[in-house]
């Protein structure tokens, strides 16, 4: 049961050489933007700092990937061309990362799902033939390990902590599970299941999955995220900041 867009509805396709770079860039930028919303709102100062550091890492990965995509494409596009001057239909991030922060449990579950995905993705690319790409992946895989440490340990705390935290963590899993088909693999499922076991959390029975992010067929949340992120560039086109 996989819900995606109507056939043939993929937005303007990216050229194949940069499609992956830009898609992963979008994942990281959109997640950084969401995590940036937490700053000054976290449950305590240490968590505020940790979420901010993770946001900065994702932002750094996004910038490196966009810059590299621009070089590969060779048409002079900059990181900000990719970030600020594409529409909702042109963004290729997975749907998971654009989901709203919700409560801290939603943010942790979203981060945890994505961190497991990133670790698998970047470790596969870190020893590729493409030097620049491998360099970016090599840095990203180290950061993803640290992010996983943070998100999995918090997931365990929440799952195991109090009745309320357990209920909230399971509710977040139930709500976000439908956005995992875009990032799941056998290895992903195995790693997720193992942390779930320690945390006392259950994988939902509901087989429904929503996909389409990689084709630019998003949930309704992305448009607002982009509206906020891009408004200055759109309000003052062509200026340097």
């Amino acid at each position: 049961m996989i819900a995606s867009g109507p056939q043939g509805m993929a937005a303007k396709a990216l050229s194949p050489e940069i499609a992956e770079l830009v898609s992963y860039g979008d994942d990281n930028l959109v997640l950084a933007q969401r995590l940036g919303e937490w700053i000054s709102n976290a449950p305590e100062l240490e968590i505020d700092i940790a979420l901010g550091n993770i946001a900065l890492d994702h932002l750094g990965v996004a910038r490196a990937l966009y810059t590299y995509a621009g070089e590969v494409e060779g048409e002079g596009r900059t990181e900000d061309d990719f970030a600020m001057r594409r529409t909702e239909r042109e963004f290729r991030n997975v749907l998971l990362v654009e989901q709203p922060n919700g409560d801290f449990a939603h943010t942790i579950v979203r981060q945890f799902f994505f961190d497991v995905y990133s670790q698998i993705l970047w470790s596969g690319l870190a020893d590729g033939d493409d030097n620049t790409g491998a360099g970016i992946a090599g840095r990203a895989v180290k950061e993803a390990a640290y992010h996983f440490e943070f998100s999995s340990s918090w997931l365990i705390r929440l799952g195991d902590g109090t009745e309320e935290s357990h209920r909230r963590a399971q509710a977040a899993v139930d709500a976000l599970w439908r956005f995992t088909a875009e990032i799941a693999s056998d290895e992903w499922l195995a790693r997720v299941s193992s942390v779930f076991e320690t945390a006392g959390l259950a994988i939902p029975d509901d087989p429904y999955q929503r996909v389409g992010g990689r084709d630019g067929y998003h949930t309704e949340h992305l448009g607002f995220l982009l509206a906020e992120m891009q408004w200055m560039d759109r309000a003052y086109p062509g200026l340097e900041w």
Partner: protein, 308 residues
């Protein structure tokens, strides 16, 4: 040597008082109040700048701003730890802030209304903070003075980044220049107020100077700040909103106009534009996080039992 004499000797010889040393109750209380207020300011100060993180005009600027706000959170942490060396708990200090019993720097009770405010805060607000904090690196209380050394380095970096942001605006389009001028028009006077009341109206200054907690008076720090800042504004081509501002050859300083102390006290007493929003934001984040902190301690307790 009797403890009070020993304390005085440390002060006189420009050495540092450490947490285990005897100290007068008034010294301890003054430091707790001052360090807590300083810590609260770092933390509340995250809000006006955090307000622009999701809207920064480029990824480069977004990264700089995010990192800066993170630094401020880190400053809050060091300072709460410095306060804890005096026998208080961070959570109790935060509670006093939430109840409105502790103050934070009034500068953060003004709203950030344009991107230029991010540059102006770095330049003027971090600039004023540095002027004050460089003095505090020579404070007689060891943990506070050492925290200041560390923090000052980062604040100088923030100040340069803020100024660099404004250079970009001032070399940019008419709209960008107007944005920068509007920001200095709004932030100039509140920045001068950051140094506190005139010396003649600052009853605690004398004792704090005697204890070497404070090393320079409010008015002298304010003058230093004005002298440092005016040429920087000139370089940017921005007009400082003070018709009385002019170089005084005889004094070797800039003269500047009278500060609106009524506004200062109004904001200190809670009726500035953003006082309620800032404290409510902080309280909301803290209250919404209660279940998370409870989960962490419940899990830690269970782990301990399992290990036993």
């Amino acid at each position: 040597m009797a403890p009070p004499a020993r304390f005085q000797e440390i002060i006189d010889s420009e050495s540092k008082i450490e947490p285990s040393d005897w100290m007068p109750e008034g010294y301890r209380k003054t430091l707790i109040r001052q360090i807590a207020q300083h810590a609260h300011s770092e933390v509340i100060g995250m809000q006006p700048e955090g307000n622009w993180i999701t809207r920064a005009p480029s990824l480069h600027r977004k990264a700089i701003l995010m990192a800066k706000v993170q630094d401020e959170a880190g400053h809050g942490l060091y300072l709460y730890s410095a306060a804890e060396t005096l026998g208080v708990k961070r959570n109790d200090l935060q509670e006093l802030l939430h109840q409105g019993k502790h103050k934070y720097s009034s500068i953060f009770n003004y709203p950030t209304l344009s991107w230029a405010d991010m540059g102006t805060i770095g330049w003027l607000v971090d600039g004023a903070a540095i002027t004050n904090q460089v003095m505090l690196t020579r404070c007689s209380y060891g943990p506070y003075s050492r925290a200041m050394v560390r923090i000052c380095k980062e604040e100088s970096f923030h100040q340069r980044q803020g100024y660099e942001l404004l250079i970009r605006l001032c070399q940019g389009s008419e709209e960008q220049k107007a944005m920068a001028q509007d920001a200095i028009d709004r932030w100039w006077w509140p920045s001068l107020m950051m140094f506190g009341p005139n010396d003649s109206d600052s009853p605690h200054t004398e004792q704090s100077m005697a204890w070497k907690i404070k090393r320079v008076t409010n008015d002298d720090l304010r003058q230093q700040f004005v002298d440092m800042t005016v040429p920087q504004a000139d370089y940017l081509g921005l007009r400082i909103p003070d018709p009385d501002l002019k170089w005084n050859e005889e004094r070797g300083h800039y003269d500047f106009g009278p500060i609106d102390w009524e506004e200062f006290w109004r904001v200190v007493r809670g009726s500035g534009p953003m006082n309620r929003d800032r404290v409510e934001h902080k309280k909301r984040a803290w209250d919404e996080g209660t279940w998370v902190r409870e989960a962490a301690s419940a899990h830690a307790a269970k782990q301990q039992r399992r290990a036993a």
